[in-house]
Symmetry: C2
Subunit: 288 residues, 2 copies
């Protein structure tokens, strides 16, 4: 496994891989690798001849007062995990290599970036989309792999590929969870044992919403109120949002049909956690 | 010369050209080809093994009430000109092929798009950058060719390539002018004979500004006032703007030094024309 530190080094490696006719997979990460990332690596290995993982804690996607400085960094362990999973190259540029000066030209999701997590994280998804566009242009993968855990990010980046005609196939892999349902996240490391126990309430709320929908309750307001109640009843957990939206457009729906996204965020102390579930209603059920 | 009408057809042609090891040049145009475009084609042929010209009147870069509907379209003549200049492929998608639905994710120049022409054309440069990013991703050129005539566009797109790491070399070719100095533009066709005569005032104003700078007048306000006066003295010509800015950042400068851009726009009836000059001051002169 080779570690690429500069854009020219990355371009050279990519050029060699593509010249050899290899299908190239990219798994963009911010490091602090966990089981969720491992599942992306496995899928990328399965579908591609060569796989590059990027490790870059992207300053553009953190707002003032967010956790950029304390975001977990574990480069040596990350390399060990990537090697175990058969990753061929790590692209780990410094901040100044990747962003020599603040970008004047950004990739902006506008509306889609202002909803859900965008309400409490203004500019976050512009920072994500801009840096992923940079990674796409530097590493030129055939296929890129993202986790469903970051649902809004996955929708926005899939739409970016479509709207800007990137010659890239997007693969979104299922969320990996702990035994008790908690979605695995690098930020789970921030939680105290007590917070860790309480954190499962987000998944419980989403799961409760899903169960109600599958039981035939198709009013989004009702589902959202129920999810809110579950979260509000939990000690030490602050509701950020819990919403029912269209899974592709992220727009509010008037009636639940087809495929919807239940997405939520909570805070435990300084730690903000997100999770989501996609709920698909069969046509048969819709007609009932 | 092949005419490519769809994104898949374009990708296939590009793939074949790149697999054969050809260096690919792209000249993005809105058609209505003229001597300015010819000069881009010549430069592209000189530098690249294969050249594709795109012809697409981009609806995203026209505002409400602008000339999208009446913008000159001359596809057969354009093909003749492209063929004469040795262009290998024309990419001429329909509007629906290129933009199947309004993009949710845009490439946004923010500040750089709000200056100069951006004041009277809000959203214009977001439309330009978004569609050029699409063209870059569809046609994947090694080198892209633009005219200095559209100075702000050239600066923004060069910055886009830098900020988003497109693996593309930008070449900006000199403005081609009529004998009397008028910059050649597809929109010159809109002018009545009388307006055509009056239209040279924009170049005259910029040239006057340049002469004053080279004579040692280094206060931007003074240069701008002089250029304004030239334009305001002309009959039937309305000043949009005439400014002195840094040639890379497009920021206002306090003192003229190094390289500045003199850029202006005027209206003659419904027709809006732009032009610009880059003025480089030698270090020797700066020290005088």
């Amino acid at each position: 496994m080779v570690v690429l530190r500069t854009v020219p080094a990355a371009r050279k490696w990519v050029q060699a891989a593509r010249s050899a006719g290899h299908r190239l997979g990219l798994v963009p990460t911010m490091g602090a690798l966990h089981e969720g990332h491992r599942s992306l690596f496995v899928e990328a290995r399965r579908r591609c001849d060569r796989v590059v993982a990027s490790i870059f804690v992207n300053p553009l996607q953190f707002g003032p007062g967010e956790d950029f400085d304390r975001y977990p960094r574990s480069f040596n362990l990350d390399c060990k995990i990537a090697k175990e999973e058969g990753i061929d190259a790590i692209f780990a540029p410094s901040a100044s290599e990747m962003i020599s000066e603040p970008p004047e030209i950004n990739v902006s999701p506008w509306r889609m970036g202002e909803l859900l997590c965008g309400v409490s994280r203004p500019g976050h998804f512009t920072g994500v989309a801009t840096v992923v566009a940079k990674l796409f242009n530097i590493l030129q993968p055939n296929t890129a792999f993202f986790g469903q855990k970051d649902a809004q990010q996955a929708v926005i980046l899939s739409r970016m590929v479509q709207d800007l005609n990137f010659p890239i196939t997007m693969v979104v892999c299922p969320t990996i969870r702990e035994q008790d349902g908690l979605a695995i996240s690098s930020r789970n490391k921030y939680l105290s044992p007590q917070q860790r126990e309480r954190a499962t309430v987000l998944y419980k709320a989403l799961h409760h919403g899903e169960q109600l929908i599958l039981a035939g309750i198709l009013k989004p307001d009702r589902i959202e109120a129920e999810m809110h109640n579950v979260i509000k009843a939990a000690k030490g957990v602050e509701l950020d949002y819990a919403e029912v939206v269209d899974s592709l457009s992220l727009r509010k729906v008037k009636k639940i049909e087809g495929e919807v996204l239940l997405a939520g965020a909570v805070r435990l102390g300084k730690t903000r956690l997100i999770d989501n579930l996609i709920v698909r209603l069969a046509k048969k059920r819709q007609k009932v």
